[in-house]
Symmetry: D2
């Protein structure tokens, strides 16, 4: 059965940072699990494909893939199969991250595959109008991330609050169920609090945690503010 | 230090077949290892990204990734990093398989990354002229696979011997070191023997092994003929 | 100022058929213009990029590009620029045809560019849920075309009427202004009449016209039925 | 019959610059033709797809497409067909420009199509090893352009002469017939002269001409130096 994630929700994207690769992916996931248990808030982690199984074995928090291909089992060398990330221990997947954009028809096909496999779908979008389009496809989560702010430390919720509120409005017009996250530049607890005050149910974060000297402390600050 | 693979060489591509996913990937790799030890021939396996670490822990034969992206560590959500497949236990990677074609500049960049990470590079190509182009990039292995024969059970070495011999000739004009494999439709020991007689050093196979009722027996037949 | 197309509307996609290339593109466009004038119905044509200027000079009916890239003027060798198709005489463009699928963010960007350049945007989609997503981006036209029927002569309006009606319903829930077309397999006047009866404002057609021995007669039949 | 281009050769890539779109494309081509006739050197121009026919009608110098797709006539909406650029008046095409990179197998397929259609193939490459790979595919022209210098005004022949000479050496080891050009940052007659002294047969240029206040003068300087 498909996992239900409680909100507020924080998803930590490990990207292909060396600080979150292999054994370090497992260590970072354990820090996230520690904060999750201490604060009682859902924190999910999205490690690289190669690390899903070891991370999923090491922690009890939800593990996401960073991407999934619109394929069924078969002759698809080098692709990422729903059944494979699931057997490795993932409970969901990011889809259409700004660093791994998909064709519209493929986003729809991947969401359909996640339904069949009872995986949680989190579609990333770049602006409010695209967030509305994504919401029309009925994924579990839509995450708005203006690409120009990703990795900058300048939080979308702080400098582009109208992007977040417009997203919430457009998405809610179309879809009352979908969980809405925002991301890009989230660096402080206050950025998380603002994101939630603007109408989201949480944040999608990466470098602020992965590149931190003390990821535990930053995550703890984020979770406290959520 | 980079592994040296002895020839003849058989690489088994697990693709995204359910018969070679998760626990079944480990089981299949163990069958390959058994044949490899019995016959004393190198058999490498190429499981999905999510299965590399568990397969590499379970067997001592070489493990390849099915694909790798032309990226350095960093902000590349959903991509496949050289460092990650290496830490997971891979010793090499397929590149440019017909089901995962790459841009020319990216094939060159991936080969360069495999050099830096001391991984074995196996570039797949679709015809003799492209095999010459690939050989000019100095990978460790070039594998010729006419796409129209892949998965058909009609062996390239049997029905298109001139494709194999032309490939060997064109590649050798440019590169005397590269290992040459062929694939597509290889189904019987005789197909493997013919491939080697035509000037290759081995074969790249997939469905004939993965989809077999008894993969051990088929691999054993292939290995005996090599 | 942006052209307003009256409905019912027939768009003829010339694809890269030799029967609609170069001089033959101009001839075919003239046949379409003749039917359009005789019946008093809007018929637009979408020739290849290389033929837009000569077709637009030869006829007074609306000319569309078959695709446009999400770019501004600049260093984009081999791309298709809004300003260029407009100066060549196009009044609009197909976007995301099943033979030229785009990333979701790029569809949004192209629609925005068509607004800036006062070009008509016609987004092609493969199924009802994707049609809803496209409608959320507020293009001028959405055209539903199940890819498996394209070029078959088996009309979507005949064999998948529920695909058309579901599309109309989902699109109208989100967007009351957008023109809705359907396509794929449209071969007879009756297919066009059915499409309109199911709630669309017209059809997007290709091979039935371009490959016809007498394109004028077929188009005339379509226009009579619209 | 396929045109033979004499060397030295200058190809001017119009990209999607507004200064070289529509009527301005024709004007710029006429300037190039004027210089070509005055100096007696081959200057080819590569306008956008939409401008090929009007440019080819207006001038007698060779016209190239900026890109071509690996397709035969048929159901390929939004693609660029060999037959179409040829009927529009092009005598050749750029292939794999750094702003329009292709998969290796597609470069090979496009070169084969240019042979069938008697079009001149000019494959762009980013470094010496890729130039060797391209040369193995036997196109008519290989043009080396380090992407990081494109549009900078810092000429590859001036600041990276070893890139040019290594390219010439590696290409000549594999292919004695292919014409070798270089590009990226070419801004002065001296850059052109140096390019030729380093072993190339000409240059591929863009912004230095297209963005010039007086394109005629700059082209004249280039042609004088060639």
């Amino acid at each position: 059965m498909k996992l239900k994630l409680t909100t507020p929700l924080i998803i930590v994207n490990f990207k292909t940072y060396l600080e979150a690769t292999g054994r370090k992916a497992v260590e970072l996931a354990k820090q996230a699990e520690k904060v999750s248990k201490e604060i009682g808030i859902t924190i999910a982690v999205a490690p690289q494909f190669t690390d899903i199984s070891s991370v999923a074995k090491a922690v009890e928090i939800p593990v996401f893939a960073q991407h999934m291909d619109p394929i069924k089992p078969g002759s698809y060398t080098g692709h990422v199969l729903a059944e494979s990330i699931k057997e490795a221990g993932a409970v969901g997947t990011l889809i259409n991250h700004s660093e791994r954009r998909l064709k519209l028809a493929d986003i729809d096909a991947v969401i359909e595959l996640t339904r069949e496999q009872e995986l949680i779908s989190c579609v990333c979008v770049n602006n409010p109008s695209v967030s509305a389009a994504a919401a029309a496809l009925k994924p579990d989560i839509v995450s708005i991330e203006p690409p120009e702010l990703i990795g900058t430390g300048i939080a979308v919720s702080r400098v582009q609050p109208e992007v977040v509120t417009t997203t919430v409005k457009l998405v809610r017009n179309i879809n009352s169920d979908v969980t809405i996250l925002c991301g890009a530049g989230i660096s402080h607890g206050e950025d998380v609090a603002t994101a939630i005050r603007l109408g989201t149910q949480g944040v999608l974060v990466a470098s602020a945690i992965v590149k931190a000297k003390d990821p535990y402390s930053v995550l703890r600050e984020f979770a406290d503010a959520a």
